[in-house]
Amino acid sequence: MLQIIKQATILGLVIPLSFVLHGCAVLHKAQLGDIDGRSSKNGTPISIKVSETTVDFGEAARIARNLGGSKSGANVLGNAASTYESYFQYGPRTGTPVFNELYARSVPNELAEKCPGGRITDMISIRETRAYPVVKGEIVRVDAVCIK
């Protein structure tokens, strides 16, 4: 009986909350560069956005554990996910760990491609996360002005 109440509560809370938090944007860092007076008049605004989709094992574990009974498959999966997170994602983190080290490495080249022969100014570098239930989108975004 208790189990049923528990599951009903979770379904009643987690699912609507998932919709509420749908596409929630989390800002981690914002850093500015120099600002050039000419930029506002002669420049072309450019924006680079690179992202990587990943899974939050901790969140997945919590949901699975709550949905399943103590000996259910969901619970076993939950424990596995939680163990993976504690032992293999141990250390400082910004957002949720991703499985591709290089997703943000191309940003300087992309800026150079978007502003060939010119220079950039008024840049702001933003590190953010687009958070969906269990699934997360880790984003690096740079807004700047290209002057030629």
């Binding site: 007076g37 000419r38 933003i126």
Partner: protein, 127 residues
């Protein structure tokens, strides 16, 4: 509810109460500092988030415009950015502050290549 659960909950609530109003630094950055440091300009963007929930961060890039408006006829150099986050129980306020020096644009250009020219002249002198 078990004693452990109660303990955990009360600890969490206690921590929330204690840390309410505390400001944490998330990131900083500093650009090259010019020699002319006469006019200081500062701008910031702030957002209050219930349960820390926000659906976009589009207000953050506006910081550049805000700072630019403070120095309409010049360039801003030596910008120090402070990215802060303050928690008030169930409300989180994130604030990004940028502070720099408003200088004449030709000076900004000079600052960048003065020493390059100087080095060239010194090499000429040696020859």
């Amino acid at each position: 509810m078990s004693k452990i659960k109660m303990g955990v909950i009360s600890t969490v609530i206690g921590a929330m109460l204690i840390t309410s109003g505390c400001t944490y630094t998330r990131a900083i950055s500093q650009t090259n500092v010019p020699s002319e440091r006469g006019k200081v300009v500062e701008a910031s963007v702030e957002r209050m988030m219930f349960l820390g929930i926000a659906f976009d961060n589009d207000d953050v890039p506006k910081l550049v415009e805000k700072l630019r408006d403070k120095c309409p006829n010049g360039a801003i150099r030596g910008i120090l950015t402070k990215d802060l986050s303050t928690s008030y129980l169930i409300v989180i306020v994130r604030k990004t502050i940028a502070q720099g020096y408003c200088i004449k644009e030709n000076l900004a250009a000079d600052d960048a290549d003065t020493n390059l020219k100087a080095a060239e002249l010194e090499t000429e002198a040696k020859i």
